[in-house]
């Protein structure tokens, strides 16, 4: 199990981490609200809007793990060998 994309690329079976682009967009919304006068202390804490899943198929094959189709579909382009 890896904690980022690079670790999966390097051999970890999979990683599920918050999506960087989505996080940046959320941060931008916070910045916009603060610049418009919102009290930073009042902005609620929310879970990440989007996660990124990465799978290393080579590792899966080595470990003899069949990756379910739903998960493979979720990984999309982040499937590494």
């Amino acid at each position: 199990m890896g904690n980022n994309k690079a670790s999966v690329q390097q051999g970890a079976l999979l990683h599920i981490t918050p999506d960087i682009e989505a996080s940046a967009r959320e941060a931008a919304i916070f910045v916009d609200a603060i610049l418009k006068g919102a009290n930073p202390g009042k902005i609620p804490i929310t879970p990440p809007a989007k996660f990124q899943i990465g799978i290393n198929l080579s590792t899966a094959l080595k470990l003899d793990i069949v990756v379910p189709p739903d998960m493979l579909d979720l990984a999309g382009d982040h499937v590494y060998r």
């Binding site: 198929l57 094959l61 003899d64 069949v66 990756v67 379910p68 189709p69 493979l72 579909d73 499937v79």
Partner: protein, 939 residues
């Protein structure tokens, strides 16, 4: 059978036929549509499933897993599970074969072998021919089914979706039944509708017409029959309406004729009744009128008798005969009705005095004969009765031409007459009062246009303001012009304010009488008149004297305040002088001691001399301070005036700015005058500093001339304070701007100054004047604007011998007696002890009066002389002296003081003291005094 039933029976079969045809047609159409819809449904579900399978297969191929068995078998399983999850109708089922005709999956639990046997060959054939079908097929073995078949090539799958024909057609049957039901319902609805329409358009109008015909038969008025259609039924209804109207009209005419006849009979009857009533009323009215006439007569008589005037009707001719008179008429003439009614005694009964009677009779008869109504009125006629108060009446006659009669009226005017007399008396009284009053009594009026007039002003205005009352009455501007220009607005504003508020007008205003400024105080009460004018009644008093007194009072108060200030400064100066003199005594005495010790060739000797001089000068300053506040006694002694003036000028040169040149012309040398040099110095300082102030801005010359003049008897007369003889004349002149002639008389007044606040006290010249007077001299000033100022002072020359010369003897007297010296200042005690011991005396010193008293009482005869300070704690020098003299009455005591209000030279003599010495103690002066006292005592 009714009409509507007949119509309905004829229409219903036609309608039912139409509906049946429509039902058959719609069932065919529904069957076809249902078949197509079912096929489409099956096709859509199969295609959708194959899309999902394709998606799973793509995941494998995309990620290169299509060759990995574990993934492929797992993903296939996933695809089959997906098929399980699809919800399809109960009568259908889905199943999958491989290309070899083996069953892989089936959606329901059908017999697997049976399925394989029926559908396996079809699947194999379909795969081989690559034929996909979506239609009704009759499958071998007599089973009629509808199915859809599709291929999924990657996995060699043949997918079926089938439905049995009977199940498939069940839907169609359901539709047919529903259609028939709806058709039957619709036909029933249609029949109902047709019946309603028939009822509305045919049956109801006919029914209404039948009802209307029946009503017309009964004689009712049918104005409107409720059939509005334009067909034959409508026409019938309208014709019936016209018919009904005609019948009604005929009936109304008959009825009207009957009523008309009845009315005529009734009217004739009522007219008869009315005439009867009117006749009765007229009889009643006449009775009432008669009664009312009698009442009115009595009423008018009562009014006439109660009128406050006398009224009578009499003949025009001279012998008066009365046809009517009220009760007051004889009463106002102070006679009786009977007397008046007799024509012969009318005049005699009214007027007692025969002369007046004839006079008035003639006048009245003449006036009446003239016929002029204006002449027929006589005012204030006296009616006298012997022994009674005269009353006055007014009378008038009004002729009644057609009847040869006159209405005579008479009324009592006694009260008015008395009031007028009283008013006249009162008016003359108040006029007398106002005319004799020292104040100006006036009435002042202002019209709404702002125009001023004096309706009345008393003659006092002439004595106060110098303008005749008549002139003011004619032209108010005569008065207004006299008001001081600066106070005219005050006067007018006050008047306008008072007119607005209607409150008391009070003002103190200045006026000019022969150019002189004088004051009046005016008080008046405003009254608003009917025409909007305001009338003030008031008086004015000349308060010029009071004003002057007030100014004087303020001036005196200021002076008193200044004097009190000076007194407090004096008290302060006294205290300071005492302390200074003590200090100076120490400096001076020690300097003298040092001078004896230091030989003359020593450079310190001259320094000590300077200290001594400075000390003397400081002593003078203290004395000057005391002199200024009049605390010290003047020490008039013969002095060389030229030297004093030269010294003063020397000092002034250092203080006066260099822009001012000092020229001195001193023509005398040894002449002496009896004076206090400090005060002469003060005169010079004050006059020269004043002169320098005058020339401060422009610069100029300050000239001081001193000369000897001899005044003979004639020239001495010009100076009241001087006697003839030799005098010293001091002239101090400057080239400043000079003194304004208007204030030149005031310059010697105390506190008069032209300098700004804080720059001059106004005391300089007053002090100079005081000093000159105290020295028996005189001072005068000669000044004109732009030409400078010259002060001239004259002092009489002294005949006394110059005292300074006596003091020039430098031999200090000495002795060997025993002295007791008392002073609370230890420094002074030490210094004096040394000083006197050098002179040979034996000195015992005490720093407290108690100590001195104790020593003295132990051995009073031991001491030859006591010298004591005046101001000491616990006991004053005077008190100590008294106590010492109680012990030994003949003990000589010298008292010395810096300054004390309790003792001076005279007082010291009164107390029996031997001598009085002022601090600072000079060695020479004190030694001489001691020697003198001791020698006198020995003698």
């Amino acid at each position: 059978m009714k009409l509507q039933t007949k119509i309905a029976l004829s229409i219903i079969p036609l309608v039912l036929l139409g509906i049946f045809t429509l039902g058959i047609w719609s069932i065919d159409k529904a069957k076809e549509s249902t078949y197509k819809a079912n096929l489409l449904y099956m096709d859509t579900i199969v295609n959708s499933y194959l899309d999902d399978v394709n998606k799973i297969h793509n995941l494998l191929t995309k990620n290169g897993l299509d060759k990995v068995d574990s993934f492929v078998s797992e993903y296939k399983l996933k695809a089959l599970k997906g098929l399980e999850a699809i919800q399809i109708i109960d009568v259908s089922h889905m199943f999958i074969f491989n290309s070899s005709g083996e069953l892989i999956f089936c959606s329901n639990k059908s017999n697997k072998n049976e399925l394989e046997s029926v559908w396996g060959p079809i699947a194999k054939e379909s795969w081989a021919s690559s034929k996909i079908e979506s239609e009704l097929q009759l499958i071998p073995k007599g089973i009629q089914e509808v199915y859809v078949v599709r291929h999924f090539k990657p996995w060699n799958w043949v997918v079926f979706f089938s439905m049995s024909d009977s199940d498939f057609l069940q839907t169609e049957r359901q539709i047919r039944n529903a259609t028939m039901g709806i058709a039957s319902f619709c036909s029933l609805l249609l029949i109902l509708l047709v019946l309603i329409v028939f009822r509305k358009f045919f049956v109801s109008p006919i029914h209404t017409l039948a009802k209307a015909a029946s009503a017309i038969t009964d004689g009712q008025d049918i104005k409107k029959i409720d059939v509005l259609s334009s067909d034959e039924l409508g026409d019938l209804a309208r014709n019936m309406e016209v018919m009904s109207k005609a019948i009604q009209s005929q009936q109304a005419e008959i009825k009207k004729s009957n009523i008309d006849l009845e009315n005529r009979i009734e009217k004739a009857t009522s007219e008869l009744k009315k005439t009867n009533r009117e006749l009765n009323q007229e009889i009643e009215d006449r009775k009432n009128a008669e009664k009312s006439l009698l009442e009115n007569e009595a009423y008018i008589r009562a009014i006439m008798d109660n009128l406050p005037i006398g009224v009578a009707v009499n003949s025009i001719n001279p012998s008066v005969t009365f046809s009517y008179m009220n009760n007051n008429f004889p009463k106002f003439y102070r006679t009786t009705r009977k007397a008046l009614e007799d024509p012969d005694i009318f005049w005699d009964s009214v007027y007692e005095d025969p002369v007046f009677r004839e006079k008035i009779k003639k006048r009245v008869l003449d006036d009446c004969a003239s016929g002029d109504p204006k002449r027929m009125k006589w005012d204030d006629l006296p009616i006298t009765r012997k022994g009674e108060e005269t009353v006055f009446i007014s009378a008038s006659n009004t002729p009644l031409p057609d009847k040869q009669l006159m209405i005579s009226t008479v009324w009592d005017v006694t009260l008015r007459k008395r009031a007028e007399e009283a008013l006249q008396k009162s008016e003359s009284k108040y006029k007398r009062l106002s005319e004799n009053s020292p104040a100006v009594v006036y009435q002042f009026r202002m019209t709404p246009d702002g125009e001023f007039t004096f309706p009345y002003i008393s003659n006092a205005v002439e004595s106060i303001m110098g303008v005749a009352a008549q002139k003011v009455l004619q032209s108010p501007s005569e008065f207004l012009d006299m008001i001081h220009p600066e106070d005219q607005n005050v006067f007018l504003d006050g008047i306008l304010e008072s007119a607005k508020s209607l409150e008391l007008y009070h003002a103190v205003i200045r006026y000019l009488k022969d150019g002189e400024e004088r004051w009046v105080e005016a008080r008046s009460t405003p009254n608003l008149l009917e025409d909007g004018s305001v009338l003030w009644d008031g008086f004015m008093v000349d308060i010029t004297e009071k004003k002057i007194a007030e100014k004087e009072k303020i001036k005196l108060e200021d002076q008193l305040q200044q004097a009190q200030k000076m007194e407090s400064i004096g008290t302060l100066a006294g205290g300071i002088a005492h302390d200074f003199n003590n200090i100076l005594a120490i400096i001076f005495g020690n300097t003298e001691l040092a001078l004896e010790d230091v030989p003359e060739h020593n450079p310190s000797h001259s320094n000590l001399q300077e200290i001594k001089k400075a000390s003397l000068r400081a002593t003078d300053i203290v004395r000057q301070l005391l002199n200024f506040t009049r605390i010290t006694d003047q020490k008039l002694q013969p002095i060389k005036i030229a030297l004093v003036i030269k010294d003063s000028l020397k000092f002034l040169k250092s203080t006066i700015p260099t822009t001012i040149d000092i020229e001195q012309d001193i023509q005398i040398t040894d002449e002496t005058i009896l004076a206090d040099s400090t005060q002469i110095n003060q005169i010079m300082m004050n006059l020269c500093i004043n002169a320098s102030h005058a020339m401060e801005q422009t610069g100029g010359d300050l000239a001081v001339t001193v000369e000897k003049v001899i005044l003979d008897n004639n020239s001495a007369k010009a100076y009241p304070d001087l006697k003839s003889g030799a005098h010293v004349k001091i002239m101090i002149s400057d080239t400043g701007p000079g003194i304004d002639p208007e204030i030149i008389d005031q310059i010697f007044d105390p506190y008069f100054t032209t300098k700004g606040v804080g720059k001059g006290s106004g005391m300089g010249l007053a002090v100079v004047h005081g000093i000159v007077k105290n020295h028996n001299g005189t001072i005068s000033v000669d000044s004109s604007l732009g030409k400078g100022t010259k002060f001239i002072i004259l002092f009489p020359l002294a005949t006394e011998k110059l005292m300074v010369e006596a003091n020039t003897n430098k031999d200090i007297p000495r002795g060997n007696e025993t002295l007791l010296f008392v002073d609370d200042e230890l420094s002074i005690v030490k210094m004096v002890q040394k000083m006197f011991e050098r002179l040979g005396y034996k000195v015992e010193a005490a720093t407290t009066p108690q100590d001195a008293l104790e020593r003295f009482s132990l051995n009073p005869d031991h001491f030859d002389l006591v010298i004591t300070d005046m101001t000491m704690p616990q006991m004053t020098g005077v008190k100590l002296s008294e106590k010492l003299m109680e012990i030994r009455p003949d003990i000589p005591i010298i008292i010395c003081t810096g300054h004390s209000a309790l003792v001076d030279e005279e007082k010291a003599k009164e107390l029996g003291l031997a001598a009085y010495v002022t601090k600072p103690i000079s060695m020479l002066e004190t030694a001489q005094t001691i020697r003198k006292v001791l020698d006198r005592n020995k003698n």
